[in-house]
Symmetry: C2
Subunit: 202 residues, 2 copies
């Protein structure tokens, strides 16, 4: 999206990203979880947040339900509003990352273009994690009964049923949450974070 306002310049912080990273002993960045409804995004995001916090990381997890009460309370579920929702999530995640945190986002984010825009907002330290559970696996659990309602036509444009999900083509990490249990998923994620956000690499 083009910048509408002119006559703007960035005033720099008096401390660098590296200053922040050194103090906390890990880089900041974004772990962007994407996958079908019911693929485990929110559960894993908030469990991972706890695990990482307990091991000394600066971390914050957010999902659509949280943001829709605040920043995105002016947005509904039209295609344009959904896209703007994901754009803002990407920008907020970028702001968290700039403050040194590991931002974990848990949004279906079904469109490649929207995820690509988030990646561009964040830059190098964007890590796309595809929770690749199949529609069948997600629908088989359906703890909120959303798939059942979607099949009955009670929820329009439901991703995986009546709206498309564009699977990532080159995600940094893939976990088939339809097969791998939660504890193992968490171990995989923790191991990934410790490697990707370590001070001397990524």
């Amino acid at each position: 999206m083009a910048v509408k306002s002119n006559n703007i310049k960035v005033i720099h912080h008096r401390l660098s990203n590296e200053d922040r990273w050194r103090r906390q002993d890990h880089q900041g960045g974004v772990l962007w979880l994407t996958g079908l409804p019911g693929s485990g995004k929110s559960t894993l995001a908030f469990e991972l947040e706890r695990r990482l916090f307990d091991t000394g990381h600066q971390v914050y997890a957010m999902d659509g339900d949280n943001l829709r009460y605040g920043l995105n309370s002016d947005l509904g579920f039209s295609p344009a509003d959904r896209s703007e929702n994901i754009r803002r999530v990407g920008e907020v995640a970028a702001l968290y990352a700039d403050a040194g945190l590991i931002a974990i986002t848990a949004f279906i984010s079904p469109y490649r273009a929207d995820r690509q825009a988030a990646r561009q907002a964040v830059g190098d330290r964007f890590h796309e994690v595809y929770l690749s559970a199949s529609v069948e696996a997600c629908e088989g659990r359906d703890p909120k009964g959303h798939y059942e309602k979607a099949r009955a036509g009670e929820i329009p444009d439901f991703t995986g049923v009546s709206a498309p999900y564009e699977a990532p083509e080159n995600p940094e990490l893939v976990i088939d949450t339809g097969v791998v249990g939660i504890a193992d998923c968490l171990d995989i994620l923790v191991e990934y974070v410790n490697r990707a956000f370590r001070l001397d690499g990524g």
Copy 2:
């Protein structure tokens, strides 16, 4: 603003604000600087960020110039866009505060209603800091030459010249940056933060 979307619920973090505060030894919250153009908001925000970081705080400063490249790149300078700009800043500051950080915001934010909305988004830990330098003092410095251009009619709706500034009625802190030097302002702010965001009070 009313919440447009239905069928939303908040999934809770697996850690509390207090968990975060205890580890870092201070509360999170928002220090909302407001004042005329040239009153020293950005300078103080970024210097304070450095000072607080150096004394072990989790802190992030932001101003309009930063955000207009990213989150608010779709907004111009119409009255509606200015208001939406401040609304989003308040919501982002609230998200930072929820992650345990002290968010320092440096925006003219000339309207009481907009600042009040930010206060409501953040809740108890919102601290309004009024940098009360007069128009004369700010115009006398005018390092960017903005007042001169505004007087010449080259910048429309310039706060303090051709657009109103509604001074805070009950700010938590007032500093007359037209009289108090930068070093003393910083000392006052650091002292205030250490008191307001300490673990056992605020």
